[in-house]
Symmetry: C2
Subunit: 200 residues, 2 copies
């Protein structure tokens, strides 16, 4: 079976679309630009993706979702002490991510801000990833409570929602300031908030 070449084209386009969207946003992303880097043409793109929107959704599901899963969800889920894993991620996330991610912002958050109020299909895909994130952190907090590591009076669901919100907020503010050090300082405060939920 030699669909290999076709799959290769599809993922080349997907990757290029991810970069263009990350830099310009979805609406400002240009099909022509996406194709220019790849050497492919519209024939290839519209064979694999019926519309620009379907390409955008595929970027969300297959690139952004996968990356977050590998970077955040799995390390927490697979840890025996998930709170420690979470604290470690919050402290060292800036080293595990490409350098331009603070300058360009979190791809997930960028698209949420741009598209959620405009397009229900984007919203539901993005919301799915966001929910995985919240659920992972909530699970970590509940597990921490069982391990007597997190205070039992902590509302895990609300705290998880806040941690994700603050996390994205830190990236967003750092992006606006175009400042890596602001990002680190901000995440340190988030680390302090989470540490404050631990048992004394």
């Amino acid at each position: 079976m030699k669909t290999k070449q076709a799959d290769q084209s599809r993922s080349t386009i997907l990757q290029s679309a991810f970069c263009e969207i990350h830099r310009k946003g979805y609406q400002a992303a240009s099909i022509a630009n996406i194709l220019h880097d790849t050497g492919l043409t519209k024939g290839a793109l519209y064979h694999h993706f019926p519309t620009k929107q379907s390409l955008g959704i595929a970027v969300v599901d297959e690139i952004i979702g996968e990356r977050l899963a590998k970077l955040l969800f799995e390390p927490i889920r697979q840890s025996e002490r998930p709170i420690d894993a979470l604290l470690h991620l919050i402290s060292h996330i800036d080293k595990q991510v490409p350098a331009d991610f603070v300058m360009l912002g979190c791809p997930l958050n960028n698209l949420m801000q741009e598209m959620s109020a405009l397009n229900p299909e984007f919203k539901s895909s993005l919301n799915g990833i966001l929910k995985q994130w919240r659920d992972t952190i909530e699970w970590a907090l509940v597990t921490g409570q069982k391990q007597n590591d997190i205070r039992s009076d902590v509302d895990a669901k609300s705290a998880a929602l806040f941690i994700v919100s603050a996390w994205e907020g830190c990236i967003g503010i750092a992006k606006n300031m175009q400042s890596n050090s602001a990002f680190k300082s901000c995440m340190k405060q988030l680390h302090g908030y989470l540490a404050g939920l631990r048992t004394d």
Copy 2:
């Protein structure tokens, strides 16, 4: 002097541009759409604003900046106990703002996410407002420390940065979830964080 009519036209356009940008974002905002509601035409718009960008910057400086100043900065600055004012704002901000603001997001944050990495002029205008916000909260924290209301070991600058970040993060997440109750829950956690900075 009958420049009244001209000023009226200018501010009508400005207001309509604010709505369109708030709904669609700057890049997707259409000059034709902005004008459609107003009954004016391109002649009027390009008389008052040389380019679309200058219109966008004017929206930031004259509408968004002014609103935030009236809504947040002034109440804190004018309070005798600014921490109380800040806590009160965090608790009740959802009642002081149009109902669609959670659904459409914070106009400041929306534009920061969209434009800061793309356009230096937008970035500097937006950053100016953001700095006022941070400085106001930092001032509130320092004043709180002088009043023995905030612990002296709190790093006011970092905490202020985090509070603004988390604040915007809460709005952003709530916007994606299109959920007013998520916003309130999230702001309640922020309230808890700030309350945790107080002296015991």
